[in-house]
Symmetry: C2
Subunit: 333 residues, 2 copies
DNA sequence: CTTAAGTACTGCAACGTTGTATAGTCCACA
DNA sequence: TGTGGACTATACAACGTTGCAGTACTTAAG
């Protein structure tokens, strides 16, 4: 029983369409009429019915963002930034959690149309390659580098280069027994593979032999456990590159628990620049991706695909975003 | 151009309504007809159009969750849990960030109808009291205690009791110079007021004089700054109760930076039990609210209001959720 | 053999909005 | 004084779905 155009029209003594024109800011409405309609709108508290609007236009004004998990500070930050960026276009963002489950990710790609989504920004974890290449009719922007050649746009930092920067920072400190934490076997773990590649390339350049610790996922507990294994199973490293900040915080926890000093005995660097790392003890050195720019570009790319302009149907594009090395206590005196 | 009932009907050689009946599981459809329709649905890849369905039924299957900020681990966790709980009812959750801005919160309460939301779960920060009491037609469940008497359901832990528990834990350790970090002046900062009340009551019982540090917001940086002020402006406390874990982590950072030991010189306890506190150094004692239960109850309450059953129109209710004290390194040897 | 109840299906109208087509009015310009 | 054009406003049809009313046929009861 909320009022519709019909009710406003009746009260203002005009046709339904004229009210619609006023609401949509159509130019050719006489000032007097417009005022009368506006008054009626105010009086009745009219609000456009989005369902009907969408039924007509095919657009819902809602985009979906799918991330592995919101609990992870990095994704929470990205989510917040994307909501902000979308707001500039007065889009609403529907945030979806995949928990990294392949099944859920497949459903997403195949058809989130169920909920009338105009577009999708997706940070895949379990899926890669051809599985992502499904044409669903809904434009999709992927966060992360393109490894196979699907139809979607991508926004990513140069993971390999960034992880090389992190590793080079460790070697430049004179450390020689360097370990990496965050290796994953799954072929779909593209990010982990790329960070490993950067790590290996720098070690090879420097003529060093690195140790590599596998993890199940990228949480603090995984980092803590992996660090414990590194300490138990061989000569302790004097530096560790963790593939994200959570792993690094977990690793630091283990090191301190065992009475080792950071960075004295072991230097630690992470990846993502989450807020936690700025207030941990010691504060955490890290690679900071330009997250606001990632968010902005992702939304912009989607906007282009959704626009009725000429750019709507171009070839998929891959946009690079900058990163920078942030040195804090965990790798300096 | 996605297929509609019309297309399926044509292919199966039945009426549109029959297809609708099959889709909705109406009983009186002959098995043979049902099979034929199913086949046509498969073949065409028919998916119901939610906009049209909603236009008819008035229900969108989407509920909104509004929190101050996703970056905050506690809210990120709650959000994840609510999404899970909503999934059981096959609802989609639209997550909204208010940034604690009164303007945005007012808009929410007044009418999120703009996006065709069936219900709203809302964790207010800037608003309190009468401002929340607006009847919008959309059922609303508030996270946090009810202080004024609005029309909305509430789910909350007993903040006063919980903060008394935290404070009592500190006094039971033999600490006497106890400070609180997290006081806020805004009358709408209900949570802060309640936690302060619990703190004061226990100190009064124990005949102690406590110090109280104000903060702008509840982030690490605020905790760090508040701790610095406490240390600069008087006799250092030997225990600090921070009104959330982020403040506590910030405070610990300041303490360690200044060469004080935690808990040796100063014991620190927080509130929320976020993951960070389980891996920080030292690990953080805290009050753990039963977050999964909060999420479940919030969704259940909304479901009741949305149901067409008799319970739909009852008086607003307030549900209490348990909390427990978690003792970790920051308050023990 | 009639009647009532049940089964299987159909057609129409409506949800609230907007695009297209249309029509009347007024003004300026030739 | 006609004529084209800009302005203002309206009517109608569609978007895809479902509730309601209704038709035709079948079965069971009286």
């Amino acid at each position: 029983m909320p009022p519709g155009l019909k009710d406003v029209a009746a009260r203002a003594g005009v046709s339904i369409k004229t009210v619609s024109n006023v609401v949509n800011g159509y130019v050719h409405v006489a000032p007097a009429t417009r005022a009368r309609v506006q008054a009626a709108i105010e009086a009745l508290g009219y609000v456009p019915n989005m369902a009907a609007r969408q039924l007509r236009s095919g657009r819902s004004g809602v985009i979906a963002l799918a991330v592995p998990e919101l609990q992870s500070p990095y994704f929470a930050e990205i989510a917040g930034l994307i909501v902000q960026a979308a707001e500039q276009r007065s889009w609403t963002v529907l945030i979806d959690q995949t928990d990294g489950q392949a099944e859920r990710e497949r459903n997403l790609v195949a058809g989130l149309r169920r909920h009338a989504i105009d577009g999708l920004i997706f940070s895949p974890l379990a899926l890669a390659g051809e599985e992502l290449a499904v044409e669903s009719g809904t434009p999709m922007v992927l966060l992360g580098e393109r490894v196979w050649h699907g139809p979607a746009d991508h926004v990513a930092i140069d993971n390999t280069a960034a992880s090389a920067d992190a590793t080079r920072h460790l070697t430049s400190l004179g450390r020689r027994r360097i370990a990496a934490i965050g290796v994953q076997d799954r072929p779909s773990a593209v990010t982990a593979h790329q960070r490993l590649a950067g790590f290996r390339s720098v070690l090879a350049e420097a003529g060093l032999q690195g140790r590599e610790a596998r993890v199940e996922s990228f949480h603090r507990a995984d980092g803590a456990a992996a660090m414990a294994r590194l300490l138990d199973e061989g000569e302790p490293p004097d530096a560790v590159f963790c593939f994200n900040d959570l792993l690094a915080l977990g690793a630091i926890r283990t090191l301190l628990e065992r009475g080792l000093s950071v960075p004295g005995d072991v230097a630690v660097i992470g990846f993502d620049d989450i807020e936690d790392g700025r207030f941990s003890t010691p504060t955490l050195s890290t690679i900071a991706p330009d997250a606001p720019r990632i968010a902005q570009l992702a939304v912009d790319l989607l906007a282009e695909r959704l626009g009725d302009g000429p750019a709507a149907g171009g070839a998929p594009r891959e946009l690079r975003v900058d990163h920078r090395l942030v040195v804090r206590e965990s790798t300096s005196a």
